[in-house]
């Protein structure tokens, strides 16, 4: 098998931390290579070195020359990497909204003729890249009109436009539905059949096992497994490699919820301006109700409607038995004690340029204030308390939230709701982009909150997580609840029932 990229003993040091410590990655033509590791294990750093964003402090990168012999190369900037045939799809969207599909695909090397943009060549080139993906898209369409899945595919087309032999995909399915993800991986497989080498970075191990053939596992900047065939490992072994200790499935304390208790939050045939209809749900104190569904099924939208961001047009919402009219988030929080932990912590959950203290206390200033003034000491003791309870690792409460790691950020975004003393907590995708170990801690945390009497509505696309945590699972499809199941924590049986609900009727959901 031909090696198309060999990264040997890469070292990269940042002030105070050794992000890569002699990490090694070898890619062969036609392989789908999984790059796994916990958050902070060095995956992003490695990708940034491969794409010319960072320069390594040690080790070398070797790529095949024209004769096929591997030669050491220096990638000074992203363009060098592209010229060397390494294409990348970053986690963040990197398209220009006002530009056409064709221009976005060819942005790195816009074809010109007589000094002007050569539109014909542009279209031809874009067509070629789209054809590689068997994608039927109008190259002249502005990307602002595309769906999320289409955007992702355009990103891949863009990465391929530079005649890439190596394609790096960083969490490509984070915002895709299962069907869309399947389609994407179909394309990845076809690309590998044509000899492209693909590196897949994903937290979704199910996907990894379904698509990849070889694997490199990073831990603390070192490669603890190097280009091993994935088939040789079980899921558990891989997790062990990533975590570095025998990983055990968390066993959460069993909770019993009295059925006759008045629900903390009850929805009765609710319809909203966001498009929901016939939504009935009840969450009792101490209960975790899962709200499962595909991306776009209307789950986060329901949460936002409950917070007053959309209007409720029919049906009734009751909080602790009394009809509730929630006009805005302030109402939800201060009158009804409903909190919402958002799925987009960076965009919607946190104030990245503010201190952790303010991020935590933002919901309780009303309570902390005396004569409209907030005492710093009260705020600080609040932060200390929650940092302690949630295990947030802080240098100081005055640290900016943006400086924290992903897991700690998620905890801060949860902390403000705990501080606000909520009875009902809607938690939206709590563990997206969070590594296995922190994920387990989060599950314990959520179960612990329920055990303390909080009513929790858990929104998640992660079925194993749902089966682990929820007492009941409501399934949402096309902005309506299509079924509800009591969870017996048997993954196979539960997942089958859930999937049946989801694909009931028309089958595929857009």
């Amino acid at each position: 098998m031909t090696v198309v990229l060999s990264a040997e003993k890469l070292v990269k040091t940042f002030p105070g931390v050794r992000a890569l410590d002699e990490a090694t990655l070898t890619l062969t033509a036609g392989s789908v290579h999984a790059l796994l590791g916990e958050n902070g294990a060095g995956k992003s750093t490695l990708i940034k070195i491969l794409t010319g964003v960072y320069r390594p402090d040690g080790g070398q990168l070797r790529l095949p020359g024209p004769d096929g012999e591997l030669r050491a190369v220096q990638l000074g900037n992203p363009q060098d990497a592209q010229r060397a045939g390494i294409g990348v799809v970053h986690q963040e969207r990197n398209l220009i909204p006002a530009f056409s599909v064709a221009e976005n695909i060819c942005l790195q090397h816009l074809p010109r003729r007589a000094g002007l943009l050569d539109r014909a060549a542009l279209r031809t080139e874009a067509r070629r890249c789209l054809d590689l993906l068997d994608l039927d898209l109008d190259p002249d369409l502005p990307v602002s009109r595309l769906s999320v899945a289409q955007l992702q595919l355009v990103e891949i087309a863009k990465a391929l436009s530079a005649e890439s032999t190596v394609l790096l995909l960083d969490e490509p399915t984070a915002s895709l539905t299962n069907d869309e993800a399947d389609r994407l991986y179909g394309i990845v497989r076809r690309l590998s059949e044509r000899g492209h080498a693909t590196v897949l970075v994903s937290h979704k191990l199910e996907e990894v096992f379904a698509v990849a053939d070889t694997v490199t596992v990073l831990r603390d900047g070192r490669s603890v497994a190097e280009a091993e065939p994935l088939a040789d490992h079980s899921r558990e072994e891989i997790v062990d490699l990533m975590v570095g200790r025998a990983y055990q499935q968390v066993h959460l304390a069993a909770r019993t919820v009295a059925a006759d208790v008045e629900p903390a939050l009850a929805l009765d045939a609710v319809a909203t301006t966001a498009g929901h209809h016939d939504v009935s749900l009840a969450v009792r104190p101490g209960e975790i109700v899962g709200l499962y569904g595909l991306v776009g099924a209307g789950r986060s939208e329901l949460a936002k409607a409950l917070l007053g961001l959309d209007q409720i047009t029919a049906g009734e919402v009751r909080v602790h038995g009394r009809p509730a009219r929630i006009r805005d988030v302030g109402d939800a929080l201060h009158r009804y004690r409903i909190g919402y932990v958002t799925e987009n912590r960076k965009e919607e959950g946190l104030f990245l340029d503010q201190t952790v203290a303010r991020n935590t206390a933002v919901t309780v200033w009303r309570r902390l204030a005396r004569l409209g003034l907030v005492r710093d000491r009260a705020e600080r003791s609040l932060v200390d308390e929650y940092a302690d309870r949630l295990g947030i690792r802080l240098a100081s409460p005055d640290q900016h939230a943006g400086q924290l790691s992903g897991g700690n950020q998620q905890k801060v975004s949860l902390a403000k709701w705990l501080a606000a003393d909520c009875d009902v907590l809607i938690i939206d995708e709590p563990t997206v982009g969070i590594d296995v170990r922190t994920k387990a801690a989060f599950h314990e945390l959520i179960a612990g909150l329920a055990a303390r009497g909080m009513a929790i509505l858990l929104i998640s696309s992660d079925l194993p997580e749902m089966v682990t945590l929820a007492d009941r699972i409501a399934v949402m499809r096309e902005f309506a609840i299509v079924g509800e199941l009591d969870n017996d924590h048997d993954y196979d049986r539960m997942s089958q029932s859930v999937i049946r609900f989801i694909h009931d009727g028309q089958g595929v959901v857009a």
């Binding site: 002030p15 931390v17 919607e348 946190l350 309870r389 640290q399 612990g448």
Partner: protein, 357 residues
């Protein structure tokens, strides 16, 4: 906080993530201190070049009065910079408010304080209107306040023509001339008199302290900052962001009105041209003081120092008798130098913080 209801902290294994350095910057890295040093250097430079710079009656007292005006002007801009917004109509808001004050003194003969309050209310009202337009329509604050500026430019002169037939009210409410001419040195207790500080200075100091308190400790101010930092997150944290936007703009209008009043007191007349020269200084003071245009963070002390710096430069160059073109040239160059120095300091501080961890 009912700690007894808290669940036990779950055992969370330590995360193996790179931890960014804590923010422990050296003292010199503080932008306020840098400004203070620049001001001190300039004061020493100017007073050695022209001793008249230290003349307490003719230079220092008027300088303090000018600084007072421009500190409040800077704060008026800072109030919306906290949101990451701009108020292009800051001068015209001041003009409209001082018109209201003048009208109140002239037609109703109200006492000084009442007229001031009327003007402040008008300023807050017009600011709130701008805020409301921005919050309701989601249109960029620059555009809304620019359009408002155009509109008020016409309105203010139309109003003055209607009310006075000229550009200013001929009225002098009692107490205005004291604000204008007197310093505390004119008020004595027995043999002991106050310092030679104009009477307008405490008004500006009070405004600065009030705004500082608001943004540092008050819930309202903090919520405005959070709205500026991340509007969506603020809204989802239960902050009524629309009302905070309105409040910040109303505060901006209120402070613009106060600045207009201080200027009217310094000039001795309520006239249409008040506020014409507010726009650029209103940005310079906060920006020199380290307030970003991006929102989410403000520095009141920095704004006060920024206003001081610009006025010291202006006063010093004025005393050195530069001709018009040299004056403009040097003001621009000194500003660029001050801004670049501040940048250099920030870069050095960042480097130092990284390497010391």
């Amino acid at each position: 906080m009912k700690t007894e209801t808290a669940p036990e902290a779950p055992a969370v294994p330590p995360a193996a993530e790179p931890r960014p350095p804590a923010r422990a910057l050296p003292v010199w890295a503080n932008p306020r201190l840098g400004l203070l040093i620049v001001i001190a250097v300039l004061v020493v430079l100017f007073s050695s070049l022209t001793p008249a710079f230290l003349d307490p009656r003719l230079t220092l007292a008027p300088l303090q009065a000018d600084i007072s005006v421009y500190v409040v002007v800077g704060l008026a801009q800072l109030a919306v910079l906290s949101l990451g917004h701009m108020n292009m109509a800051v001068g015209r808001m001041a003009a409209l408010s001082t018109f209201a004050m003048g009208l109140a003194y002239d037609r109703l003969g109200v006492p000084l304080l009442v007229g001031l309050l009327v003007g402040l209310a008008v300023g807050a009202g017009i600011g709130a209107l701008a805020g409301l337009l921005i919050a309701k329509t989601g249109v960029n604050s620059f555009v809304v306040t620019l359009a408002l500026d155009f509109g008020l430019l016409g309105l203010v002169t139309i109003l003055y023509t209607w009310a006075t037939g000229g550009v200013s009210f001929a009225v002098q409410p009692s107490g205005l001339s004291a604000l204008r001419f007197d310093t505390f040195a004119d008020y004595c207790m027995g043999e002991v008199c106050g310092p030679r500080i104009p009477l307008v200075v405490p008004i500006a100091v009070a405004a600065a302290l009030g705004v500082g308190l608001l943004f540092r400790h008050a819930r309202l101010g903090r919520e405005i900052l959070m709205t500026g930092s991340n509007t969506v997150a603020a809204e989802l944290s239960g902050i009524p962001t629309h009302r905070r936007v309105v409040a910040a703009h109303a505060l901006s209008g209120l402070l613009a009105a106060l600045a207009g009043f201080l200027l009217a007191a310094n000039n001795g007349a309520f006239s249409a041209n008040i506020g014409e020269s507010f726009l650029l200084p209103s940005f310079l003071a906060p920006v020199l003081g380290g307030t970003l245009l991006a929102g989410g963070a403000v520095s009141v002390l920095g704004t006060a120092l920024g206003a001081t710096l610009t006025q010291v430069i202006y006063k010093g160059l004025n005393l050195l008798q530069f001709s018009l073109e040299e004056l403009k040239l040097y003001i621009g160059l000194v500003l660029l130098a001050a801004l670049s120095l501040d940048r250099l300091r920030a870069v050095l501080a960042e480097r130092r913080a990284v390497s010391s961890s």
